[in-house]
């Protein structure tokens, strides 16, 4: 425990903060993470004393303000996803996945259909998908994604069977393309008695344009810290509300807000005997839900549609500019969704320069690197997501910076390999970090 004065603590943490990149400081095109502007107005609203001061177990008469907000958010999310009911209990996307898969399991169990042991996930899926399936006691079975970025439909058909509890999909996928045969996939899985889980991490791409509920998904989560612009906080918090169609709605996790006339109350056990129950001590990341609600209200109907439209516009523009600049696209025949994948396999082969090297060198240009090495199936890749809140100028600056780095790959590869050069730290040694574990100060 340190023993310092208030000034020392303030100065230390103020100065430390300046060793971070952030949305408020830099372009941050981290694919799959939707690093868009986090409105300060939403932060202020959630910081109102009536909200920050409310105890989670306060009596109902002292809870109507919060419950009204929670209920309103549930309704907004229903409308935006096309689902019949929403619980905002899960505290991030992964917990939403857990909840959704637990709901699928509860559904099968309730029908006495207890032999389904597999959840299918594409090999391009985010790591949380198989991890969540396993956490629920399932085996995660991978199906490949084809060269066009869509799931290999034949392989999928072959994988689906009576052992299939369900499938987890993002759409648009983590390859940055819209899964065109989604309706066929839904039919195949449903026909086999399985259910469809929608990983909402990429909802930003289609907000207001298409809804997972209309694509045949039975249950989903929404990452409010992505699509609904709540700040990522250097790792969290987030919130991962789950939505379900009529079939799965009875299994939604608690707590949920209920409206009765002008009053609000909590869903009681008697209201939801089939719920998978609570996943947190109280009501999930309530303060994040408030921020998301404020953001949703500021967007409104048209604003939501524009989010998807301009996220898509920015991604396609940036993809096109990079294509013209000679960058190799992973799926050159496809539209970008709100993000897209590029690959540096050529640079790796010719110059021994990795995607990570290029990422580090981009940092020197004051740009946060895109997501690297994800999806895993594309070698030496970047997943680039500019989001709708960035200007054309910022995108052009990214093209210029990456072009310059790619020039350097040819003219001065050492400079790229040893990047970054302009940051508080030079390249950090991950291997040493894991080998000589130094996890607390002082101890060695």
């Amino acid at each position: 425990m340190p023993e310092v004065s208030e000034l020392q603590a303030v100065r230390h943490y103020t100065n430390l903060s300046r060793r971070n990149f952030s949305i408020d400081n830099q372009f941050y095109p981290l694919g799959s993470c939707t690093m868009k502007y986090n409105p300060r107005g939403a932060h202020r609203v959630a910081s109102l004393p009536g909200f920050t001061g409310r105890h989670p177990l306060a009596e109902l008469p002292a809870s109507q303000g919060f419950l009204a907000c929670l209920h309103e958010l549930q309704e907004v999310l229903k409308a935006a996803t096309g689902m019949a009911a929403v619980s905002a209990a899960p505290m991030a996307g992964a917990q939403g996945e857990f909840a959704g898969i637990a709901m699928i399991r509860a559904y099968h169990d309730a029908r006495g259909d207890t032999e389904r042991r597999e959840i299918i996930v594409p090999d391009a899926a985010h790591g949380t998908n198989p991890a969540s399936a396993v956490m629920c006691g399932y085996v995660a079975r991978e199906v490949p994604v084809g060269a066009d970025g869509d799931v290999d439909f034949e392989a999928l058909k072959a994988a689906v069977g009576e052992q299939t509890a369900g499938i987890m999909l993002t759409n648009p996928s983590t390859c940055g393309v819209f899964e065109r045969r989604i309706a066929d996939i839904a039919d195949v899985v449903h026909d086999a008695g399985g259910l469809l889980y929608y990983d909402g991490a990429n909802l930003n791409a289609i907000l207001g344009t298409a809804r997972p509920g209309d694509m045949g998904f039975d249950v989903l989560h929404v990452n409010l810290h992505k699509t609904f612009a709540t700040p990522h906080g250097g790792g969290g918090p987030g919130a991962g509300p789950v939505g379900a169609n009529e079939r799965l709605a009875p299994y939604l996790p608690t707590p949920m807000a209920l409206r009765e006339g002008d009053a609000f109350r909590w869903l009681e056990p008697a209201d939801a005997p089939d719920s998978i129950g609570r996943l947190s001590a109280f009501a999930g990341n309530a303060g994040i839900l408030l921020r998301a609600l404020a953001y949703a209200r500021m967007l409104g109907r048209d604003g939501m549609r524009r989010v998807g439209e301009f996220a898509t516009l920015n991604a396609n523009y940036l993809m096109e500019r990079l294509r013209q600049a000679g960058v190799e696209l992973a799926y050159p025949e496809r539209r970008a969704s709100h993000e897209f994948v590029i690959t540096f396999r050529q640079e790796a082969k010719e110059f021994g320069i990795s995607a990570m090297d290029i990422a580090k060198r981009l940092l020197d240009h004051g740009i946060h690197a895109p997501t690297t090495y994800f999806p895993l199936l594309v070698p030496e890749c970047f997943l680039i997501e500019p989001t709708e809140t960035e200007t054309k100028e910022e995108l052009d600056a990214f093209v210029a910076a990456l072009t310059q780095v790619l020039g350097e790959v040819r003219t001065d590869p050492e400079r790229v390999k040893t990047a970054p050069h302009n940051l508080p730290s030079a390249r950090l040694d991950d291997v040493k970090a894991a080998r000589d574990l130094r996890l607390v100060h002082g101890a060695d």
Binding site: I276, F282, M304
Partner: protein, 477 residues
């Protein structure tokens, strides 16, 4: 257009570069049948209007003095904490995957790990999971993996319906924590067996012994327990270790400034310490965002879920920080990861770190001592009312169960109407304790607050019982 910077000219130039005629063209891979019409949500409002509307709602819930704890505590938060956390550099950064561009967050987490290890008497800490309840669930999964005996058993089984692994819940552990843990671990065939508490409000030792007969993978004990009382943790640890079970301690971090750290309990201490970091500078906020912490000994670090930051060096030999042991995590290990957690509660860890730095050991100790003193004062004052008395006699930290001689739910509602958050009606958790209130006073409760509550409660209890309100067996909020 809110939050979208494009001019019409920009859009035209960009579409031109893409070779599309309209933004709509860019969605041409989405089958027409899947396109939706306008969403059924209201039209957008400006920040001003949203602020006004939500301010009105917030006002409705504005609390008077809060004597409710039960897992979330109304401590004073120095203004510096959130002034710092709200800096864009902390608030709007992502997970520090690019270490060189994230030294601020990384060093801060490393300091956090150091402080949490010191506070719990453990050797390592992670960088948070969701909340205290989910931390307990993760600790259970971790203990099952870490316990060599259960690990062997787990390896033998596969797929969904594995042999059942048992974990014993010793004493009064927060029911929401137990429910959460149960919901999260049951898919993996892990069962929680609870001892319940005896007439002292602490672990029923006879039942505990019985439940150890067939050795469980782990034992969970909460200190102070969810009734505010001190459990006989040394005995619990001794018996658990003797039975080959690992010990998971759930602890309120503020209490650790006064109580023996779990790392010092009995022989080698608890094996895993977890809990909720909310008391460390995080507002009540209807239950979140808070953060769950998990600390353990070095030997179990590879079973620890969540991110971990290590000190390393850069290519120039200068010290620097990076995420480490990432092979435990889902983004590398996928289905075989220690947990599915990805997004954690980073900003709350930032708050807790700044909070602990501002207070230091002496400051934390002063807060804990003052909480204890004010709770004693509270209990004395409330017990001065006819018909109000302590339900359990043992020592408490900053919460205490009072028997008020009639339905506590009803009284709590009346208290709320009088502008005081008066405590938890324990009937919500334990039907036997329907006449009991779990009350709490933090350092923030002044003597005047306490006197005001005493007067309100006296007045309410002086009036005949109201007709029973609709029963509310478990509040889920």
């Amino acid at each position: 257009m809110p939050f979208i910077p494009h001019t019409d000219q920009d859009v035209a130039t960009m579409l031109d570069a893409i070779g599309a005629r309209s933004i709509d063209d860019l969605f041409d891979e989405i089958p027409g049948a899947l396109r939706c019409g306008p969403l059924d949500v209201p039209l957008g409002e400006r920040e001003m209007e949203v602020t006004a509307a939500l301010t009105q709602r917030a006002r409705r819930d504005e609390p008077g003095p809060c004597f409710l704890g039960a897992g979330a505590y109304d401590h004073h938060i120095p203004a510096a904490v959130w002034d710092i956390c709200s800096r864009g550099e902390y608030m709007t950064a992502y997970t520090p995957y690019q270490a060189e561009a994230s030294q601020g967050t990384l060093q801060l987490i490393h300091e956090f790990q150091t402080m949490m290890a010191a506070l719990t008497g453990m050797e390592v800490s992670n960088a948070s999971v969701y909340d205290g309840a989910s931390a307990l669930a993760e600790a259970v999964l971790m203990a099952v993996r870490a316990n060599r005996r259960t690990r062997r058993r787990g390896a033998a089984s596969a797929g969904r319906e594995t042999a059942t692994t048992r974990v014993v819940v010793a004493g009064a552990v927060h029911p929401h924590y137990v429910a959460t843990a149960r919901n999260i671990v049951q898919g993996q065939g892990i069962r929680l067996d609870a001892t319940g508490f005896d007439a002292n409000g602490t672990v029923d030792l006879a039942r505990f012994e019985a439940l150890l007969a067939e050795p469980p993978a782990a034992v969970i004990v909460q200190q102070p327990n969810c009734l505010g009382l001190l459990e006989p943790v040394d005995e619990v640890v001794a018996a658990a270790h003797a039975a080959g079970a690992l010990v998971i301690a759930a602890a309120n971090p503020i209490s650790l400034a006064l109580l023996a750290p779990p790392g010092d309990w009995h022989d080698r201490g608890a094996d895993i310490v977890c809990g909720d970091g909310q008391p460390l500078g995080i507002p009540l906020s209807s239950g979140g965002p808070y953060f769950g912490y998990i600390c353990t000994r070095r030997e179990f670090v590879r079973q620890l879920p969540g991110r971990i930051v290590g000190l390393t060096e850069d290519s120039g030999g200068q010290p620097g920080y990076a995420l480490t042991l990432q092979a435990r995590e889902q983004h590398i290990r996928r289905g075989k990861a220690t947990s599915n957690i990805c997004t954690n509660q980073g900003l709350l860890v930032t708050a807790a770190t700044v909070y602990m730095s501002l207070l230091g050991a002496a400051g934390l100790n002063a807060v804990a001592s003052r909480c204890h003193a004010q709770t004693r004062e509270l209990v004395t004052e409330l017990a001065s009312i006819d018909g109000v008395e302590r339900r359990f006699a043992g020592p408490f930290f900053h919460e205490c169960v009072l028997d008020i001689g009639r339905d506590a739910q009803d009284v709590a509602q009346q208290t709320a109407t009088a502008g005081i958050t008066g405590g938890l009606p324990l009937g919500r958790w334990y039907p036997d304790l329907a006449n009991c209130l779990l009350v709490c006073a933090t350092e923030k409760r002044s003597d005047a607050d306490i006197a005001a509550y005493r007067d309100v409660l006296r007045r309410i209890l002086a009036h005949p019982e109201q007709p029973a309100t609709a029963s509310a067996p478990e509040r889920t909020g």
